[in-house]
């Protein structure tokens, strides 16, 4: 009996202490945009570890430094939906001013992003969007159509428009993956691809090792395979590694996205003839700038609004971006056209990122 009393007293003490601490510090800022910095920005990529997102963060840090904002990166180390939701919730509790998210799943992350918006935190999506209702805007690195058609066209070109090809994607639920894949397939419906067959689409979950295993699996399962399209910066080098290990350089062509530094050897060896990317540093820079401007109240995400950047980017030499309407009717900000890399420029860019 005495023990129970002691227990209850202890719990009340704990509660009391917490309340005391809580009451002592006034609630951090109003729910609306303060209008004045410095702001705290939370950068939430799909996951941690891969050079692609590391370089995006470099761009974001650049922007934050310009404005004197504080920025930190958090993300799920298992690249999972559940993990990302947990991260966002933790960030909401920390009462940051803005969140920049590359979503692992468009709909699954929507409720928690909405919760953030309701708490007065501005949510800006980049690289992979979250549902339109749960974000201020989305910075898209390239139009889905441009990418999808571009990749399919590149594949067609290097295989001479015939043969079996396959796609190695990241996660099946990632919004950008689905859209790109849809446009690849659309492009392949064009009559000039009538001799090209898409035999399979496999998912490597953006995990380097799993993507490699999946690529090997494709090569084994389809002995007449002529090309692999890597739909992410993880998938393409993985496919190249698989092709190299099997000694099939030249027999199986690889195109896709890749970061120059990881793709350099493969391009020079001829495993990959060309690959696309956008300037990831710019992507981070633009997204973080928009995040800042949301906090100051300058940006609200309306169609037609413009964003002025601190420096020009590859996509917009005058450094001004406009919110336009995308293919699915949702407003977004387009980074610019994708860049093509091949033997001619790989060395230069591999030194940059």
């Amino acid at each position: 009996m005495k023990k129970w009393v002691a227990l209850i007293v202890c719990i009340m003490m704990l509660a009391g202490v917490s309340l005391a601490f809580g009451a002592a510090k006034p609630k951090e800022g109003a729910e609306e945009a303060k209008g004045e910095g410095p702001f705290t920005l939370a950068w939430v990529p799909k996951g941690l570890g891969h050079p692609y997102f590391i370089s995006c963060y470099e761009g974001a840090k650049e922007a934050a430094k310009e404005f004197g904002d504080k920025i930190f990166e958090v993300g799920p180390d298992d690249w999972s939906v559940e993990g990302q939701i947990t991260v966002i919730e933790s960030v909401i509790d920390q009462k940051v001013d803005a969140i920049g998210i590359a979503a692992n799943d468009m709909d699954a992350l929507a409720p928690v992003c909405k919760k953030a918006m309701d708490a007065g935190i501005h949510v800006v999506a980049w690289d992979a969007a979250v549902n339109q209702s749960a974000r201020v805007t989305f910075v898209n690195q390239a139009s889905f159509e441009g990418i999808g058609r571009g990749l399919a066209a590149a594949m067609g070109e290097v295989t001479g428009y015939e043969g079996e090809i396959a796609v190695l994607s990241a996660t099946p639920q990632a919004p950008n993956q689905r859209k790109w894949l849809a446009w690849v397939k659309k492009e392949l419906e064009d009559p000039k691809y009538k001799n090209v067959t898409l035999v399979d689409v496999v998912y490597g979950d953006d995990m380097t090792e799993k993507s490699y295993d999946k690529a090997l699996g494709l090569i084994k399962a389809y002995p007449d395979l002529k090309g692999i399209i890597g739909l992410s910066a993880v998938a393409t080098p993985a496919s190249c590694a698989a092709v190299t290990d099997k000694g099939l350089i030249g027999d199986i062509k690889v195109v896709g996205f890749g970061i120059p530094s990881t793709m350099k050897d493969y391009v020079l060896e001829g495993t990959c003839q060309k690959f696309l990317l956008w300037n990831t540093i710019d992507l981070g820079y633009v997204a973080a700038t928009i995040m800042h401007q949301c906090c100051t109240g300058e940006f609200t995400g309306e169609v037609g609004e413009t964003v002025k950047l601190g420096r020009p980017t590859l996509g917009e030499p005058d450094g001004v971006y406009e919110v336009t309407v995308g293919e699915d009717g949702d407003p977004y900000v387009l980074l610019g056209p994708p860049m093509e890399f091949d033997k001619s420029n790989i060395e230069k860019w591999a030194a940059i990122f």
């Binding site: 570890g49 380097t208 490699y212 090997l216 993985a238 290990d245 990881t262 350099k264």
Partner: protein, 337 residues
Amino acid sequence: MNNERYRGTLKNLIRRREFGIFIIIIVVMVLVGLRNPTFFTSDNWKDMLMYVSILAFISIGQMMTIVTGGIDLSVGSVVALSGMSVGIIMRDNPALPPLVLILLGTIFGLGCGIINGLLIGKGKVHPLITTLATMSIYRGLVVVVSRSRWVVYGDITKGFRLIARGNILGINNLMFVAIIIAGASYYFLNHTRKGREIFAYGDHQDAAKFVGINSTRINILVYALSGMLAGFGGVLWVSRVHTAQANTALGYEMQTIASCVIGGVSIFGGVGSVFGVLLGTLLFGIILNALELIGIVDFWKLSVQGFVILVAVIFDAVLSHRVAEQMRKQRRVFDAE
């Protein structure tokens, strides 16, 4: 007296068991081959054997811990930690010769294993709990060591790539290494005093103590060996897949345990053979390969793994239950205080 009788039965059991696994392997191979002849290509076998080789010698390490009545759940994490550490060192020092990197990885693994051994042998914490905890700790260290940056394709040097893909005497490096380690382990476990002590200890810990076998040293030894083999395997692993991530080899310990269980290692301790483990690993590898080739969707992999372990274990239980009962009864009588 009873001891000898059931020891003999146990030995017969193992022999029957290994033969049984062998038959199953043949049967599975035939079935898979019929379904997809690609199974028999040398290309396929090369890939599969590369995978199986690493699994084999790490499973041998696992076997040693299980034989003493313990278990090592931290092997997956040790593989990851050593692999990542070595990967980063390689990335920052591309001029280092691969052999140095291999040595480093092995030492890292040895360190992890010794920590396990000390906690279990000196700290007397149960192996299950210890390795459960160190599994998390080592796995967490992978992230800390890598500062959230994976080792990816651009980082791997040519020399490092060759660790897994080169050949010695015409056989792939990994297979060569596995054979050597298997041979050395066999010799160690069956023909050296320390090796026999391991079995004796696993068989009946109290009796072993009375014969002068130092339980602390035995534990430190087996877990150190297990860690060392895992560390070594980690370097080879990263070389094979050209990458090191935070979740490299996640869940790998289950595969080593499965291989041991299939190979006739008793979860109670005291029973097991290197040859059995090799066969068990091979069978496991073949099943994984078969799943790929038959076109069974990736997602069945987990269920099948679980199912296979279950079957092996039920088989084990049904066959050796009587013997285990005897073992337990023996000990009960002995322990009466």
